[in-house]
């Protein structure tokens, strides 16, 4: 029911919204929950397990019941707290976890079967027959569990991610946080004040506090006004700090304003100091049927009438064990809600406190034994001090079990909260470095204490950052009592007493867990699921611990609460991802000829982050195989070119490069002449092959190394480790030049003729002047610097030409032009791969981090005359075992058969079983040169088995091929074509 006046809503801005198919109206400044209450909607959801009818229980993020699906289609957002959802025009919300409807939920039978479904029941049954678990039982359980539904469609939201830095981060904008921000902000420090709510003020908004003679909310507004004027203070509303991380890093989630582009913004805040002013959480009370719609936290009831001008009921009873609860009676009465009685089990409540009850009946020493009603509260059964029971009719029961500091963030780095007997609550333990707790979160529960503490904390934090300490006199605040008792459980034979409202964990579940030996709080949590719901035990933790302590015969403080974990406020998965999703998941690296290849219709393939041309289809070609075959033939018979710029290129300078290379590579480097290139093999320290490639000496103290595309970053890092850490005495400088050069492989019998025509005149390409494994610097395209290497991956006469990357496309065009008479053909990585298999060069599938040089037939590259990385550990027996699998070639006996990578090798006549598994096929290709399928494989003692037949078995995909073992070089084993 909407109160005729008051509240912080803007009555000039009415908003229409829908819930459960019906239209309602509220005002700007409402939450969905306050608007529903103002419209008299009591039933808002169903509980997780028992499917009991539930109503709004809180006015904040700890809400266990009023969770709705918000929005439609791809915009549907499940499990949205109605209590924190700002009302906006056209908002549509749907109840969740009920079928067929909220009012009539078939699963509510679960409630009747509750004794059967007690904690842990599923561990004791559903075992027979075992196949029924996946087929019958589990689907039933799964369907019943869960809350709202995901839309099933990709999330269309836009999520922002920001790095923030400040001197002082203040978390929470209640009186303590506002004071802290003001003190720090005035000192000139860079301050961020983060507040979860869309309004600043904390409890000042929901309570009728008095500050400096005016209302608390007016004070909050004036502070907010001043904060805006401070140049280095930023106020972030709708921003929950959800986690504390190492090094003063805080995670925060800001909700985008309605109608904005950004749905939410994930902020990583690095703060030198932090003031945690997160307030306190009110505790519910545990009695029979305490979950009926109409039962609500007392502070929430106050918030609804004071802040939202929404009456959550017409006739109320207040049930409290805290002095603070009594304020509720006064506020409700003032708002026109009839208060029938205030029930307080304590008998020593002060007269100043009981005076707050006004005309309501005061029942001290009494307790509510049971709530009555079904889908709505009808009344309460009160057990008087004398034990007599009576029923008081009401539709609102405001409950208060006292307050617990909201200390989750203090525990994220591992500190354990400690019991404070004085506060009758867990208090922050050791706090993270640089973080100070202030206000109610620190046990300074009254507004006056919170203010003073906040000013002091803010000033101290600023001072610690080198700003002047400002001692600000806290304004006076009205009188306020803050005292409560912990009440355990008002046992009742009938009805269920809920601890965890969402997960339907009851007091009897705690007893049961205890009876079954689950006595550590963490065991109880895991056995009963207490505190594992969306509110993470904010409402249930204290009461659960109290009951467990009782069962254990221990004091509550002897056993800590269960571990607090981030996020304090739930974070959408999409928010953590930000913009790095879908196609923008990882950046793309483009080669210098990318646009050119795109224009030629190339098909691209991912190679790590790179996109490379896979092949260049010609019109009329049926499939990739046809294109690739044409490309290979062109290279073998004429000339082709391929962009190999993705190979890692590392420039090395200095007088000690040769020594450095000697230690990095297994083979000899001391004698490499200027103008020459050499193939090198690099190992990890454990003797396994890391990478291979060529390194060229361009000048006396200048070398350039190439690495494989896949290992470029790892090799660079490995070399930097060697340079900086292992051998800092060597005078070597290194820099990556991968992106600088467009490097084009030009290969084929006509490669020289082609290359000669693109190089600037004057460079002698004759085999005498520029033999196999020569390297030189020259110019290309009229004066641009260029490098030429006579190396080959294809087995044909080959050159690699490097020119500045911006000239990549021009170079490709030039090659097409000069090569036209030779029918020059651009080729992609697929043809490149075919030719390297034909030549038996190891690549990714062979350099798999498990192979030794010996395995790959490269043992001849192991120098015996020097130390190099990997030498000693490579000598271990397991790595030199003659039974190891080594690289061989395979040809199908029936040449028409296709070989597939991943098949395993079994001796002919032996069964296909693990015991006879002798290796596997690493790489395969259709060889246009040989006219049949070929493969590289790793085969036990392979080098000694040339000519033998093996079965290639492929039980995974079916099919089997018999193949002949051969040397891994299929084309031109003598290397004549290479040298020309």
């Amino acid at each position: 029911m909407r109160l005729p006046a008051g509240g912080r809503i803007d009555r000039a801005r009415p908003l229409a919204f829908r819930f459960d198919g019906r239209y309602y109206s509220g005002f700007a400044g409402d939450t969905l929950a306050s608007a529903l209450l103002a419209n008299g909607v009591r039933l808002v959801g169903r509980s997780f397990k028992h499917h009991r009818p539930r109503g709004v229980f809180t006015a904040g993020p700890e809400e266990p019941n009023a969770l709705v699906e918000l929005g439609r289609g791809a915009e549907r957002t499940p499990n949205t707290r109605a209590t924190t959802t700002e009302l906006r025009e056209g908002l549509e919300a749907f109840p969740q976890n009920c079928w067929p409807s909220l009012r009539f939920d078939l699963m509510a039978v679960n409630g009747l079967l509750a004794p059967l479904f007690a904690a842990g029941f599923y561990y004791k049954t559903f075992m027979w027959p075992s196949s029924f678990w996946e087929k019958v039982y589990e689907p039933l359980i799964r369907r019943a569990a869960g809350l709202g539904r995901l839309s099933g469609a990709p999330d269309p939201g836009v999520y922002d991610k920001v790095h923030d830095f400040c001197d002082v981060l203040v978390i929470g904008a209640g009186p303590a946080g506002l004071a802290a921000a003001l003190a720090a902000g005035r000192s000139g420090a860079r301050v961020i004040l983060a507040e979860e709510d869309f309004e600043l003020g904390g409890r000042l908004l929901g309570d009728r506090a008095e500050i400096a003679g005016g209302s608390g909310s007016a004070w909050a507004a004036s502070v907010a006004g001043e904060l805006k004027t401070l140049a280095e203070t930023r106020v972030l509303r709708r921003t929950a700090v959800f986690g504390v991380y190492d090094g003063g890093t805080y995670g925060a989630l800001e909700q985008g304003p309605a109608g904005g582009v950004v749905r939410c913004r994930y902020r990583k805040i690095v703060a030198r100091r932090c003031v945690l002013a997160s307030g306190a959480l009110e505790r519910p009370l545990v009695f029979a049927d305490n979950d009926r719609p109409g039962v609500m936290l007392a502070s929430a009831a106050r918030t609804y009438v004071n802040r939202f001008a929404a009456a959550p009921g017409r006739r109320a009873v207040v049930f409290t064990t805290s002095d603070d609860g009594w304020r509720t009676a006064a506020d409700l009465t003032r708002a026109g809600v009839a208060v029938a009685a205030v029930v307080d089990p304590r008998s020593d409540v002060g007269a100043d406190v009981t005076a707050l009850a006004g005309d309501a009946e005061r029942l001290t020493g009494a307790a509510v034994a049971r709530a009555l009603g079904g889908a709505a509260l009808r009344g309460v059964e009160v057990a008087g001090a004398d034990g007599a029971r009576r029923v008081i009719a009401c539709d609102l029961l405001a409950v208060s079990g006292g307050w617990s500091p909201n200390l989750a963030l203090t525990a994220h780095l591992g500190a354990r909260p400690v019991w404070s007997a004085q506060a009758q609550a867990f208090a922050p333990g050791a706090t993270p470095e640089g973080l100070r707790v202030a206000g109610a979160a620190a046990g300074r529960f009254t507004t006056a204490e919170a203010l003073a503490d906040g000013f002091a904390a803010g000033a101290e934090a600023a001072e610690a950052c080198g700003f002047p300490a400002l001692r600000i006199e806290a304004p006076g605040a009205g009188p306020e009592a803050a005292r409560w008792a912990t009440l355990r459980h008002i046992a009742n034979a009938r009805g269920k007493s809920y601890l965890d409202l969402q997960h339907d964990v009851t007091a009897s579940d705690i007893d049961l867990a205890h009876r079954e030996g689950f006595r550590a709080p963490e065991h109880v949590k895991r056995y009963t699921t207490l505190g594992m719901a969306t509110d993470q035990g904010r409402l249930s933790s204290h009461n659960g611990l109290a009951l467990l302590a009782q069962a254990n015969g221990a004091a509550i403080g002897e056993q800590g609460p269960t571990t607090h974990r981030p996020p304090y406020a739930p974070v959408p998965i999409a928010a953590f991802a930000g913009a790095e999703r879908d196609g923008a998941f990882r950046p793309v690296r483009h080669t210098p000829t990318h646009a050119w290849a795109e224009r030629r219709g190339a098909v691209f393939v991912e190679a790590g982050l790179w996109l490379r041309a896979q092949y260049f289809p010609n019109p009329g070609e049926r499939d990739w195989q046809e294109s690739v075959t044409r490309e290979v033939r062109a290279v073998r018979n004429g000339v082709g070119f391929c962009d190999v710029s993705t190979l890692g290129k590392i420039e090395l300078f200095g007088p000690d490069v040769a020594t450095f290379l000697e230690r990095l590579y297994t083979n000899a480097w001391a004698n490499l002449a200027v103008g020459r290139a050499r193939y090198g093999l690099m190992l990890r320290e454990d003797g396994i092959v890391l990478d291979d490639g060529t390194t060229s000496r361009l000048g006396p103290e200048h070398y350039v190394m190439t690495t494989t595309t896949a290992n470029a970053a790892r090799v660079f890092q490995h070399m930097e480790f060697a340079r900086q850490v292992l051998w800092p005495e060597l005078d070597v400088q290194m820099v990556s030049a991968t992106d600088q050069w467009a490097q084009i492989a030009i290969a084929g019998p006509l490669a020289r003729e082609t290359l000669a025509r693109v190089l600037d005149p004057g460079f002698d390409l004759s085999d005498a002047a520029f033999p196999y494994m020569a390297a030189a610097e020259t110019t290309v395209l009229a004066g641009a610097p260029a490098r030429v290497f006579r190396v080959s991956f294809s087995g044909e006469r080959g050159y690699e030409l490097a020119a500045p990357a911006r000239l990549g496309e021009a170079l490709a065009d030039a090659l097409m032009a000069v090569g036209a008479p030779f029918a020059i053909t651009p080729y992609g990585v697929e043809a490149l791969g075919v030719m390297r298999i034909e030549k038996g060069h190891p690549a990714g599938p062979e350099l798999n981090g498990q192979t030794t040089p010996g395995d790959l037939g490269l043992a001849k590259l192991l120098s015996r005359r020097k130390d190099y990385i990997g030498r000693r550990l490579g000598e271990r027996p397991g790595l030199t075992d003659p039974d190891r699998q080594t690289l061989v070639g395979l040809k199908p006996i029936d040449r028409s058969q296709r070989l597939r990578a991943g098949g395993h090798l079994v001796r002919e006549g032996a069964p296909a079983s693990a015991a006879h598994d002798e290796g596997h096929v690493t790489s395969t290709a259709y060889s246009p040169t040989l006219g049949h399928s070929i493969a590289l494989a790793l085969l036990a003692r392979g080098a000694q088995r040339l000519g033998e037949r093996v079965r290639i078995v492929d039980p995974l995909r079916g099919g089997e091929v018999v193949a002949e073992v051969c040397a891994p070089v299929f084309v031109d084993p003598g290397g004549e074509r290479l040298r020309g």
């Binding site: 790095h163 860079r190 913009a579 950046p587 992106d739 600088q740 610097p785 911006r806």
Partner: protein, 184 residues
């Protein structure tokens, strides 16, 4: 106060050379650069400029020498190498990088907010201003950035193969800026 918004441009013709000191030759190199180009190589994450060349700290003992243009690709590096060889002998390492780095210039009142979405470093004027440089990340891409003026203007170098992705990252970040920002 500057206009809100920011302006991003690619600096396609810019010249970049990587320069590193030989072991123990840092001071000699610094003197040589001073003598040859009037450039004082900074030894902390800053930059210095003289006669159209900027020396940006790029790691201990390493610099990026940046100029707006060069006559031929790689000309800047060649010029440096020639000058240093003349003064020092082969006592410095110079690598052509004009095509290895893509240079962006981001300028305007929103520039800092845009970078706050991409770089995990503090660019607040109290922490970072004209004359400062940093090696850090631009989203997932390694970058070297420096501030040239109070507009503020930043120049950002990324490996050139990432240029398109860097451009997208800038655009995506700009699109996510809060609609109404409180002026700095």
């Amino acid at each position: 106060m500057a206009e809100p918004g920011s302006h991003l441009e690619r600096l396609p013709g810019a010249a970049v050379a990587w320069l590193a000191a030989r072991r123990g030759q840092g001071e000699a190199l610094a003197r040589a650069m001073q003598a040859a180009f009037g450039l004082a190589l900074p030894d902390t994450p800053r930059w210095a400029a003289a006669s159209g060349r900027r020396a940006v700290w790029a790691g201990p003992g390493q610099w990026l020498i940046v100029a707006a243009h060069e006559p031929v690709p790689g000309g800047l590096a060649q010029e440096l190498a020639a000058a240093l060889t003349a003064v020092l002998g082969a006592r410095a390492a110079v690598s052509i990088q004009s095509d290895g780095r893509a240079l962006f210039r981001l300028s305007g009142a929103d520039a800092r907010e845009t970078l706050a979405r991409l770089c995990p470093i503090d660019l607040h004027p109290r922490a970072f201003g004209p004359g400062h440089a940093a090696l850090t990340r631009l989203g997932q891409i390694a970058c070297c950035l420096w501030q040239t003026d109070d507009a503020p203007t930043y120049e950002i170098a990324v490996p050139s193969s990432y240029a398109a992705s860097a451009g997208h990252a800038f655009a995506a970040a700009t699109a996510r800026l809060p609609a109404s920002r409180t002026p700095p």
